[in-house]
């Protein structure tokens, strides 16, 4: 059972997405969270001046599944077809640290008390990091909804924020989940569709090409970044083992030898920290992989609408030929065209702002990462220099 409070981390937390929570009329954050076995309970804190809400400031507990429900209902809402829907936060994954904790428990007998304590501390820190990360992505999800002119007015969003009881009743039952599965299948068919449909608008043509390519590249980059970060973490862990072993030797031995050894413990700091920086980059890439997917989804929907429109045209022509149901077909066609135009218009706006948002987020994140790398490398350097001096003076 772990809980955190994030007041100091608020600024650092919003690293993948920017310009959220600027509007004081609806301010959302997640100040606290509890982890009970597999379930994480987020405490969502809302401050609002909007009249649509009953109270101006309140808190509500929610689980991860509630977020998913909210996301899915928004996706299913027709009105939002022309908008980029913020990607759902991924499920909290404590498997990594949990497994390590398990292994540590098994190997407890083979290491000294200090080493065990240190490793336990490290693992707890790792656990905490995962925890903080998951809180952050959930928070960002809500903030994107609250800062979007359309989504913030969504009825379900309001329910999510206000309903003071458990949302379980409203969540997906098995049948609906199955439906969702089908939807994904249909989506991949859409991909074929989208590449096949002849695009009339130059803007969307460009976007399509760009997004398809970019999506695959960023997915790849994310995977590689994760691998690299994992390697770096392994190196950091090794340094831990080394410092533990060296401590044992130092405890056993005398003077010169011991001093030499104890100095080496400082080294683990170097790698530990470096891996934290890379985590930033990985997070950024991961987030944008999901976001790009959301943008692609928008394109799919539009392509679908276009296909529908073209189909309706064909139907109308057929009806005109046959001479019956013409009015109906005309109406249908008009609707499809309206839908398509609406999608195109809002789609264009969304995609343009998405572009800008992405560039800004990358910039901010890369700057932060670089500055932290420099800072920690300089720290390491001074530590190392100090150690070398101590050793040389003996």
């Amino acid at each position: 059972m772990t809980s955190i409070s994030e007041d100091s981390d608020k600024e650092k937390v919003r690293s993948v997405s920017v310009d959220l929570n600027n509007d004081a009329s609806l301010v959302i954050d997640i100040p606290d969270a509890l982890c009970e076995r597999d379930k994480v309970k987020f405490t969502i804190h809302i401050k609002t001046t909007l009249s649509s809400f009953q109270k101006s400031e309140f808190s509500v507990p929610r689980q991860h599944e509630d977020f998913i429900w909210l996301h899915d209902t928004i996706v299913e809402t027709e009105e939002y077809a022309g908008l980029i829907i913020p990607p759902a936060p991924p499920k909290p994954d404590f498997e990594g640290p949990r497994e390590k904790m398990h292994k540590l428990g098994e190997g407890e007998s083979s290491m000294t008390k200090e080493e065990y304590a240190k490793m336990k501390q490290e693992l707890e820190a790792e656990y905490l990091a995962v925890f903080k990360k998951t809180v952050q992505v959930h928070e960002v999800f809500l903030q994107r909804l609250s800062s979007h002119p359309m989504f913030r007015k969504d009825r379900n969003f309001q329910i999510f924020l206000e309903y003071d009881q458990d949302l379980t009743v409203r969540r997906k039952n098995a049948k609906e989940m199955f439906g969702g599965f089908f939807k994904n299948m249909v989506k991949s068919a859409d991909e074929v569709l989208i590449s096949g449909v002849k695009e009339v608008d130059e803007f969307f043509e460009q976007e399509k090409i760009f997004l398809l390519d970019y999506s695959s590249k960023i997915k790849d980059a994310t995977a590689k970044a994760e691998k690299m970060t994992r390697s770096h973490k392994n190196v950091a862990d090794d340094y831990n083992h080394i410092s533990g072993a060296m401590n044992s030797i130092a405890a056993d031995n005398n003077t010169a030898f011991k001093k030499t050894i104890s100095v080496c413990v400082l080294q683990k700091l170097e790698d530990r920290v470096a891996s934290d920086q890379e985590l930033k980059l990985t997070e950024l890439l991961r987030y944008y992989t999901r976001d790009i997917q959301a943008a692609k989804d928008l394109l799919y929907r539009r392509a679908r609408a276009l296909a529908d429109y073209e189909n309706s045209n064909k139907t109308l022509d057929k009806a005109r030929l046959k001479g019956k149901d013409i009015a109906q077909a005309e109406e249908n066609q008009k609707q499809c065209l309206r839908k398509f135009d609406k999608l195109s218009e809002s789609g264009k706006k969304e995609l343009t702002s998405f572009k800008a948002r992405r560039v800004v987020a990358f910039r901010k994140n890369l700057i932060e990462m670089t500055e932290l790398e420099i800072k920690h490398a300089k720290n390491s350097m001074s530590l190392l220099q100090g150690s070398i001096e101590i050793l040389n003076s003996n």
Partner: protein, 527 residues
């Protein structure tokens, strides 16, 4: 031994000031003698420069004594001519124990000193024995009081031959100012089995005396086969480099040991152009198998000997050594893991770098695109940094630890030798006891004819017992000294290598800072 004093002694220094200089030096070394630091100077020999006043003076002094001469120093008034040198040193196989107390058991061979006294070419007058004695002693002390330089490098591995009979030949270069070597710089080519052969020879001679013999690098069938077969990939290159470095460290440790340095086999190894092929080093040869059998029987013996330890120092020291060996093994395993993970990190970083480059090429915002390609380049440089760091991790840290695990094994052997000597003493004592009892029985049974035999036996065993007692004393003393020397050397080694490792880490961090600082403006330029 004393006969050498009767021979033509080396001439005394001609001038007053030279003698004075000589005297001061003796004083210095005297102090150092007190705390048995004598050996240490030789240990430092390979890395520390010569401390004596100045080169030509030193040359003068030594040539005056007639013992240490350098080829390039020709002083008309001084001792021997340089063409005597070769005779001098190739003959220097005399085993001596000098009379001065502090040298007791410390150095078996003082060849050059003795031989110098044997020379017959003395331009100057013969001197009084008493003066000579003083000179001899001072000489010996001086020998230990000075710091000489001896540098060994193992370089230029070359593959000789083809197929399964191929082998790697290494160049062993020696650079020295030690007087006992006629040349200052020389080199020979040796192969791995030569090194192993050297170890066998030294071990046979010195381990019985309780010396710690540095163990050679291990054989590796897999590694060598790859090299023989001719695979020109990075792993076989790595193997050759690993072996080359290990051989170099091995030789450096050997010559750092004062007794071993004096050993003619060592000198022959360093100097002689062609060495007879050491066939005893092959695992499946006759001697190889014999060795394995001996080792097995030794292991059994070890379990059965329970020594009555009068001196707690040995018991606690052995325990310390065994503990440390365990800990070092653990540490080595951790460092090994580090090396492997860092290699993985290299690969993953390289892959990531390419991926980022691809992403950058797709990116439509031009400034971001440029920044991403820059990031790819930075990550590429990071990969190189990681590569270098891996190299350091391995060659500085991992190999150091592996060496010391093996060295601790050698230290343990040294303790075992002492136990063996003790056991021999015990057995002799019990045999003597039995002979005494036999004599008593004979006396009682009144058989005079056998009595003489019994008495002879007793005498024989009495002298054996006293011999073995002396041996045991000597070995005990040697082991103690060896352990102290080892500890000093270990402390120095570890300090040296760990500083080196930290410096490599520092260098890496420094470059890291530079790369990221160069990258930062690129990122900031994104609009």
């Amino acid at each position: 031994m004393s006969g050498s004093f009767g021979r033509n002694p080396p001439p005394l220094p001609d001038s007053e000031d030279q003698e004075a200089e000589f005297d001061t030096r003796v004083l210095d070394s005297d102090e150092e003698e007190e705390d048995e630091e004598g050996e240490d100077i030789f240990t430092g020999a390979r890395s520390k420069p010569i401390t004596p006043t100045s080169a030509p003076d030193e040359g003068d002094i030594f040539s005056e004594e007639g013992s240490y001469i350098r080829r390039d120093v020709h002083h008309a008034t001084n001792g021997l001519h340089s063409d005597e040198e070769l005779d001098l040193f190739t003959e220097a196989t005399v085993e001596l124990t000098l009379t001065s107390t502090t040298s007791q058991g410390r150095r078996e061979i003082t060849g050059p000193t003795a031989s110098a006294c044997n020379t017959t070419h003395v331009p100057n007058s013969i001197l009084k024995p008493s003066v000579v004695t003083k000179t001899m002693e001072e000489l010996e002390e001086e020998e230990s009081g000075d710091k000489f330089e001896l540098n060994i490098a193992v370089t230029n591995p070359e593959k000789i031959g083809d197929g399964m009979n191929a082998y790697m030949s290494y160049k062993v270069s020696t650079r020295t100012t030690l007087p006992m070597f006629p040349n200052k710089m020389f080199s020979v080519r040796r192969r791995f089995s030569d090194f192993l052969g050297l170890y066998e020879k030294i071990s046979a001679k010195h381990s019985l005396l309780g010396c710690i013999i540095p163990p050679p690098p291990q054989k590796s069938v897999v590694g060598m086969t790859k090299v023989k077969v001719g695979k020109e990939d990075s792993s076989s290159a790595e193997f050759v480099e690993k072996r080359r470095a290990a051989l170099e460290r091995y030789l450096q440790r050997v010559v750092a040991h004062p007794s071993l340095l004096q050993d003619p086999d060592v000198r022959e190894f360093l100097e002689r152009d062609e060495l007879p092929r050491a066939v005893n080093t092959q695992t499946l040869s006759g001697p190889g198998l014999l060795k394995m059998i001996n080792r097995a029987s030794d292991a059994v013996n070890k379990m059965t000997i329970k020594m009555n330890e009068s001196d707690n120092w040995f018991e606690s020291k052995l325990q310390e050594v065994e503990n440390e060996e365990q800990l070092l093994r653990r540490l080595h395993a951790a460092v090994d893991s580090l090396v492997n993970h860092r290699k993985e990190l290299c690969i993953n970083t390289a892959v990531f770098s390419k991926s980022v480059a691809m992403l950058g090429s797709v990116e439509e915002n031009s400034a971001l695109s440029r920044a991403l390609s820059q990031l790819a380049e930075v990550e590429d440089k990071m990969e190189q940094l990681h590569q270098q760091q891996t190299f350091s991790d391995f060659f500085i840290l991992a190999e150091l630890l592996a060496d010391y695990v093996r060295l601790l094994g050698a230290v343990r052997c040294c303790f075992e030798q002492r136990m063996k000597v003790w056991q021999r003493l015990q057995e002799a004592q019990s045999t003597l006891q039995k002979k005494r009892e036999a004599e008593a029985k004979l006396l009682w049974a009144n058989k005079p004819e056998k009595l003489q035999q019994a008495k002879d036996d007793i005498n024989e065993w009495e002298s054996k017992v006293s011999q073995y007692e002396r041996d045991f004393e000597r070995v005990t003393c040697t082991v103690r000294k060896e352990v102290l020397r080892f500890e000093k050397e270990r402390a120095r080694d570890f300090k040296h290598y760990i500083v080196k490792y930290l410096e490599s880490l520092l260098h890496t961090q420094h470059r890291l800072v530079k790369y990221w600082e160069d990258f930062l403006p690129e990122v900031k330029a994104i609009a």
